[in-house]
Amino acid sequence: MDMLIDFFQYPFAIRALLASSMVGLMCGVLGTFIVLRNMALIGDALSHAILPGVVVGFLVAGYSIIGFFAGSVIAGLIAAILITWIQRNVSTQEDAAIGIVFTSMFALGVMGISYLTHQQGVHLDLKDFLFGNVLGIGDQDLWLTFSVMTFTILCVAAFYRFLFITTFESVVAKTLGFSVGTIHYFLMLLLSFAVVASLQSVGVILVVAMLITPASTAYLLTQRLKNMIWISGAVGLLSAVLGLFVAVWLETTPGPAMTVMASLIYLLAVLFSPQKGLLSKMWRMQRKRLRIYREDILKQALRLYEKQALTFENLLEKMDANKAKLRWQLRKLVRMGLLQGQGNELILTESGLKAGYQLVRAHRLWETYLVEKVGLNQDQIHAEAEDLEHLLPEDFLEEVSKTLGNPARDPHGSPIPGPEMDSTFVLTDLQVDESARISFMQLDHWVRSQLWELELSPGEEVQVKHVLPEGIDILAEGRAFSIPSELALLIKIDRVGEKRL
């Protein structure tokens, strides 16, 4: 730490810090579009291709920043135009075209520098171009970097809409009359500016890292272009500053240190990004597995509950699973308010029942869909539906139901529970000759056992035949039942038609 404080007392260190942060920010912002337009290779190409421009600039103007700047930018644009021309007019693979152009220009540059060393006796160190030299950052370089950064950000802000639409769908942009080519070449120009301005800090080989790594990091962290631009700029700036610190600390060259920092931040994003990170993916998969497991518990519990046999042991036998895991997830279900434990016995709460029947609904709807729409036969469908029921969101399920014409029964003839389960009516609300379905939501334990005894299952359609003081006579599936009043008052029903089953 002392070393850092000590270091940044020197004016050249401040210049290095300023230049690096500006380069980081600028490359980050511009890199967003390079990454989204799949131009990483072109970025690399342009940065290498400016070398002959440096040589020509030197031949014309000597150790002058104007010659250097103009030469580099012109060489960059020539490379961009050449690449695009070859891609459009010669039958050469796109990436091969890029490779041919930039290696030849780079080689020309290396030859030129070697020529300058031999014939002109000039000490132009190739290494400074390849890896940068933060010590050599002068006031002029600082002004150059500053103007290029300001211009880049200004342009991205001013032409944001055009950059957005041409990057996202160049075809549509063209159909609307926007000049896609202009934006393409303008980006190339900005890219050349950025590469020239970054040369002193990171050099031509590593500048592409400052262009694509922060942008790729940002891509992992956000779902919106605007945010991606800012995050990318911030990550670029952070990598540059941290890289410089690390370089001072370890006494190494700053350019590579910045690149390594950018890659480290990228690695962190790969692991920990909330949406696209590996860990969150694993976490989501694990959560999904556990959710499916809990849903399976709920279904088994429902089945056992209907048979009046919902105990931990029975559930364990049905689930055929590890005891600890089952206990763990049962506790979770209790916390979610779907299940209650009473000694050895387990009780499904109202919301537990609802959730369970919704799963049954999904399963039976999918079975129906697979038979009616996909054309599978009845014995193939159970396993498929077993998977599908867990996977799709509720609104999609309703689309399926609608597509099937809201069926009341599945291919096996079992009733399909409805989407709404808040039964407000009971059997005694019905008039003579009115029809209704017995609701799935029979919370009363005694009612459930009575219905179980009568072999009247939820979802059955019943029709009221007589209403007598001591009870109600009903007809269900062609069988007649007499329900005593005290039971009829408690049996919940769903009215047919009024509320869809």
Partner: protein, 581 residues
């Protein structure tokens, strides 16, 4: 006879050696100052060449193939030694034939290099008395290859020795003019330690002995620290090294660059340092003048530079803005106009895609566009959209060019044309529809946002507005792009296979919307491949097979005859359609 041959060959060899005695000696030196020293001794007896041209840094020299040839053909090779010519050792090891080599520094009291324990500092020639040893070695070498001229070489040696001794006296006298506390020489690399030791000057450098080293932040910082507060008025750059770092150092110290020193190479003719004697003399003058503070500030700031960049920026910015503007819409009555396609022919690489197409399209209809593979239906679309250049023919809207009304044409692309992982939300995409209605630097207005919200509502995707487009189902994705088209205030809607990969509910909803659009007086064209629904979906039909097979009321033109003409040999398709009908 066989025995005589080798003997005669031997004689022949002897005779060629004899003739070699008479021609000029070919002496090769590694660097330019050695060339000058050698030339003084060789005189008229030979020619001296330097491998390295004037101005070249010998530390980082990369030999070219020509160099090996020159060295191989020399009578005598003179090198500095003391690890100056690392590149030479390698070449000598690889060369088959080699001239005798003189190491000019033999017998010089070498200074150890700072960085490397076993290496010596090669810059011995910076002390003129060491140069006397150099020329002594050179004389000895020359005498070995041409003993007959020993006296001549000795005379040259003595004459030059006197000049070197005079130079030594001159340097000592000049240095004595500098106040002792200011006798600090800061340069790029450690070339001046022999010079400094001889004349009592402290030498500081950033690069160390060889120029090959990378300057580190630490070495720069150390030099800066040790120089600040010493009150020296100048630092010095070297002719063979980029002056940037030292210029920077001078700036950071608030002092000036005292001038250019020649160390590893002579200067060119204009420099005033084009011989060894002149080089040392000039260096001394530059150092003394600099350290006496006689050199004024010569800040060569390129003010033009900023001006140049800023004007370059302004021009490119303005040009781009100018290129991106859209034409104003011509006054077209959107309820009553015609798209006229006249004689349109398009080909790709001489393969015909469309030939002589005539079509006339009117608003208020849903046109189905059907045809087999390669029938040109996509090409027709692309032509209307301005994506392909026709070979001949024209597309106009009333009397106007179709290019003038681009912003009123909405294109709903096929799903696979979209990058679904693009960082954009539903509302981002829908708002794009408003882009062509705003000037280049105009921001989207409140109305634009309301319009996009209304379009999303119309398609029932307003709740998804913040979702990334890849998170949507196929049907929802399709609706996003239709919402954009609505938002665009388009008059002409082009759908490219909109029903591929969407659920039946969305398909029905899309067709509902499309019919509604037609009712509002819009013109809709849909590329479609499922012939079963043609009659339900489209009130007009365009049947294509590179040319127009039929266009008109669906009920009239969708008949077996036309279908056969449209699909030609694609029989399986034909059979399928017949089973549908």
């Amino acid at each position: 006879m066989l025995r005589i041959l080798p003997i005669s060959l031997f004689l022949l060899l002897l005779s060629t050696r004899a003739t070699a005695q008479d021609r000029l000696l070919q002496v090769v030196t590694t660097t330019s100052f050695l060339e000058d020293l050698a030339a003084q001794i060789v005189g008229v007896e030979g020619e001296v060449h330097s491998v390295l041209p004037v101005g070249t840094d010998p530390h980082i020299y990369d030999p070219v193939p020509e160099d090996a040839k020159i060295i191989a053909e020399a009578d005598l090779l003179i090198k500095n030694g003391l690890t100056l010519e690392g590149w030479l050792e390698e070449m000598m090891a690889n060369a088959g034939k080699m001239a005798p080599v003189v190491t000019a520094t033999a017998g010089v009291e070498a200074i150890h290099s700072y960085e490397h324990a076993n290496a010596s500092d090669p810059h011995a020639w910076m002390n003129p008395l060491n140069a006397v040893i150099y020329i002594g070695n050179i004389r000895d070498g020359l005498i070995t290859v041409r003993p007959s001229k020993a006296a001549y070489f000795e005379a040259n040696y003595q004459a030059y020795k006197a000049q070197l001794e005079a130079l030594d006296a001159y340097i000592q006298r000049r240095i004595n003019q500098i106040p002792p506390e200011k006798r600090i020489l800061a340069t790029s690399h450690d070339a001046f330690r022999y010079f400094g030791n001889k004349y009592g000057i402290e030498v500081q450098s950033i690069l160390g002995t060889s120029t090959e080293a990378e300057p580190t932040l630490e070495s720069y910082q150390k030099l800066l620290g040790s120089l600040s507060g010493k009150g020296i008025p100048a630092v010095f750059v070297e002719s063979t090294i980029n002056p940037k770092l030292l210029t920077q150092l001078a700036g950071d110290l608030g002092i000036v660059v005292g001038g250019k020193l020649y160390a590893d190479s002579l200067g060119d003719e204009e420099s005033g340092a084009d011989s060894y004697l002149k080089m040392l003399r000039q260096n001394t003058d530059v150092i003394v003048n600099g350290l006496l503070g006689l050199v004024g500030t010569s800040k060569t700031e390129d003010r033009y530079f900023l001006l140049l960049i800023i004007s370059l920026f302004a021009i490119s910015f303005g040009f781009v803005a100018w290129r991106l503007r859209l034409p104003a819409t011509p006054p077209i009555d959107w309820n009553n106009y015609q798209i006229n396609i006249r004689g349109l022919s398009v080909s790709y690489d001489k393969k015909t895609a469309l030939s002589n197409v005539y079509l006339s399209l009117e608003p208020g209809h849903v046109y189905g566009l059907i045809g087999g593979n390669g029938s040109g239906k996509s090409t027709l679309f692309k032509s209307i959209l301005g994506l392909v250049e026709p070979d001949s023919g024209s597309i106009s809207v009333d009397k106007y060019e179709i290019n003038d009304i681009r912003k009123h044409i909405a294109y709903i692309p096929q799903k696979e044309e979209i990058d679904w992982s693009f960082p954009a939300t539903v509302s981002d995409i829908v708002q794009m529809g408003r882009f062509p209605h705003r000037k280049v630097f105009e921001r989207l207005t409140r109305t634009d946002h309301e319009r996009s919200l209304a379009a999303m509502k119309q398609l029932g995707i307003e709740d998804l507005h913040h979702k990334q487009i890849g998170e949507l189902s196929g049907g929802q994705q399709q609706r996003v792009f239709i919402a954009r088209a609505l938002c665009q205030d388009a008059e002409i809607f082009l759908f490219d296979e909109p029903f591929v990969g969407v659920d039946i509910t969305t398909e029905n909803r899309i067709i509902e919307i499309v019919k509604e659009l037609a009712k509002q007086g819009k013109l809709v064209i849909i590329i479609h491949h499922d012939l079963a629904k043609v009659k339900d979906y489209f009130d007009r039909l365009i049947m294509m097979n590179q040319r127009v097979v039929a266009i008109g009321d669906t009920n009239l033109v969708f008949n077996d005859d036309n279908i056969r003409k449209t699909y030609g040999g694609q029989l399986t398709m034909l059979q399928r359609t017949e089973s549908y009908r």
